[in-house]
Amino acid sequence: MEHWKKRDKKLNDPTQFRNTIKNSMALDIKIGDREAHVQLIKKEGSKATIQIDKKIYEVDIMMVENGVYSIIHEGKSYNIEMIHGSSPKNYFVNTYYSSHELNIIDAQSRYQQNRNKDGLNNGDKIISTPMPGKVVRIPVKEGDQVEKGTTLIVISAMKMESEYKSPADGVVKRVYVAEGETINGHQPLIEIQ
């Protein structure tokens, strides 16, 4: 009968809890400008203790339907819908009261992020789409000199045509697809060097 009592505790030393953890993975999750450090401290059945930055939450969490979680926290009932974004680490989350885009930052993403920052990745401009569709037109060919903003490819999906433009001045290094071809989302289409 105590579940509506306040249980959040501000901790001076968040690491003191870490000792009790065995296999739980810590994740950094980016939400807007914020990068939150999230870690499972304890889980027994549907009851979980989770630390987000310096705050400890005790929640009752269950996946009730495919991609839909029910969380009860201090008596409040939350319905969380997890919608996949452009990668398995990208989520669009509806909580009924707000929508958020979240990105899981694990070691791999961190590494890539750093690589990108260091400019090691600057030859790597691959055009792709977030959704499946059909190639309507490719007004360029391999070897063409293009300017930033030049239309490289036109994709049609659900009666709507979208143009994809070059992100920078460069040369069309490779065209992976042909006009009329059906494509998947996140598939490489054109590479600019």
Binding site: M131, P132, A157
Partner: protein, 505 residues
């Protein structure tokens, strides 16, 4: 009475038509393209035939093939739904030639109303007000100048065969007139194979208000009141309601009479819609006629109680309309929201994909007309609209509150949808005050797209917890190997494959 109806359509409207057929004891026949074998309309129909490859041109738009199937399966009639072949006079003509009832008006009515200049002329002849402008094809620049000096700037140049905003140019300054006409003509030619354009006065804050009409072979024409359709984005309606919070009882009567006059002028039969523009001073002008069922017809059904598809079938069978004009009332208030698989926060990019989970709203005063289900893959070949939610209330306020509740209840994962955007509209003060015109979305777009709340609230932390648990439990299930591969090869393709395998969980 008609005994078997072939539905030359797909998606929610095909399901909706099949429902009324079933209630009438009429057999329904579905068609499906390669992409649609598992679509809901195939599962609801009594019979189903494969019609061709996924692209519409090779399947749902192939009139000859469709008529061939109708003959083979001995359907009496073809219901075209909306879109596809519904306003194709040629198809209506071919049905007639094949001895199959086309559930819609005669091909002659379609032709007259399909050409905007001829429709304007018909309306003027019948005494229905039209937007001031030219009555014929625009010719030399002098006559154009004369027209413009009569009706005043701004004006809009429109393609006579047009639609969907193509071949349209807004002109605010006299010096832009000549070039605007040239551009409109060339766009019209390339889009419709016909460079005929005409000039209309541009109304600055118009309401888009349409009247539902029904006409039978016995010569009765009735109207079923108005629908307010001003909440539009790029000429695409998003939200409709009835009654309109803008028009008065007197105006409703006048416009209703004008709508009936318009339909009679083309000897209309069946269900149709007269679209009007209404300016801020409540002057109304005929805009065009849609010679078919509209997407938003359910709000009329909810407030009048009339099943419009059943009436279409009665009329097509040669029976009279089942009610009288004087028996109709507008009972309460109804609103429709169209839900599409698109990302409003990424320029309304369409989002085809697999529905992981869906629960539709329900209970008192809520109707949904949809066609997707759990595990269904929304094809990329067709319209992104997946469901319409229709709410009813005794008052407009109640209908809005109920729509908010319904949008709240609507849960879908797997694809992005316009739900959050629609919720923002329901929360908008001007919308709640009934104070809006066709510029509503444009005017409020910044506010409507601002859905991100304070990232330090508890709800945000709940989202983080959900993401944490979802992601870590998926990692446990698929094992870490896939990730290792992806990390090593660092290829987008692997990433995609991984995502696919994650989505299948």
């Amino acid at each position: 009475m008609i005994k078997k109806v072939l539905i030359a359509n797909r998606g929610e409207i095909a399901v909706r038509i099949i429902r009324s057929c079933r209630e009438l004891g009429i057999k329904s026949v579905a068609l499906y393209s390669d992409a649609d074998r598992t679509a809901m309309h195939v599962r609801h129909a009594d019979e189903a035939y494969h019609i061709g490859p996924s692209p519409s041109k090779e399947s749902y738009l192939d009139g000859d093939k469709i008529i061939e199937v109708a003959k083979q399966c001995e359907a009496d009639a073809i219901h075209p739904g909306y879109g596809f072949l519904s306003e194709n006079a040629e198809f209506a003509k071919k049905c007639k030639a094949a001895g199959i009832i086309f559930i819609g008006p005669s091909w002659e009515s379609i032709v007259t109303m399909g050409d905007k200049i001829s429709a304007r002329l018909k309306m003027i002849e019948a005494g229905v007000p039209v937007v001031p402008g030219t009555q014929q094809k625009v010719g030399d620049i002098e006559s154009v100048n004369k027209v413009v000096s009569e009706i005043g700037l701004p004006v809009i140049i429109k393609a006579s065969a047009g639609g969907g905003g193509k071949g349209m140019r807004l002109v605010r300054k006299k010096e832009d007139l000549a070039s605007a006409i040239r551009m409109a003509q060339s766009e019209a030619l390339s889009s419709f194979g016909n460079d005929t354009v005409y000039i209309e006065k541009y109304l600055d804050s118009p309401h888009h208000i349409e009247f539902q009409i029904l006409a039978d072979k016995q010569g009765t024409t009735v109207h079923l009141f108005e629908r307010e359709c001003s909440v539009q984005r790029r000429h695409q309606k998003m939200i409709e309601e009835t009654p309109s919070p803008f028009i008065t009882k007197e105006l409703r009567e006048q416009m209703g009479k004008a709508a009936i006059k318009a339909a009679r002028a083309v000897h209309y039969e069946g269900a149709g819609t007269i679209e009007f523009l209404v300016d801020a001073n409540r002057n109304f002008y005929f805009l065009e006629m849609n010679t078919r069922l509209q997407v938003e017809h359910p709000i009329t059904e909810r407030t009048t109680g009339i099943d419009l598809v059943k009436e279409q079938i009665y009329v097509a069978s040669g029976n009279p309309i089942s009610f009288k004009q004087e028996d109709l009332v507008q009972f309460g208030h109804a609103i429709e929201c169209r839900i599409s698989a698109e990302d409003p926060f990424n320029n309304f990019m369409p989002c085809p994909g697999i529905i992981r989970h869906i629960s539709e709203p329900n209970g008192l005063g809520v109707r949904t007309d949809g066609y997707v289900y759990e595990g269904y893959e929304i094809p990329m070949h067709y319209d992104p609209m997946i469901t319409k939610i229709i709410t009813w209330g005794r008052t407009r306020d109640e209908a809005i509150e109920r729509m908010k509740r319904a949008l709240f209840e609507y849960k879908i994962t797997g694809v992005k949808t316009s739900i959050k955007f629609l919720e923002k509209i329901m929360d908008n003060k001007d919308f709640n005050d009934g104070n809006y015109d066709t510029h509503f979305i444009e005017k409020h777009i910044d506010e409507l797209l601002d859905i991100h709340s304070d990232p330090h609230l508890t709800t945000t932390d709940m989202a983080l917890i959900g993401a944490y648990i979802d992601y870590t439990s998926k990692l446990e299930r698929i094992g870490m190997n896939d990730f290792a591969i992806a990390a090593k090869k660092n290829e987008k393709w692997k990433e995609y494959g991984l995502m696919k395998s994650l989505q299948k969980i």
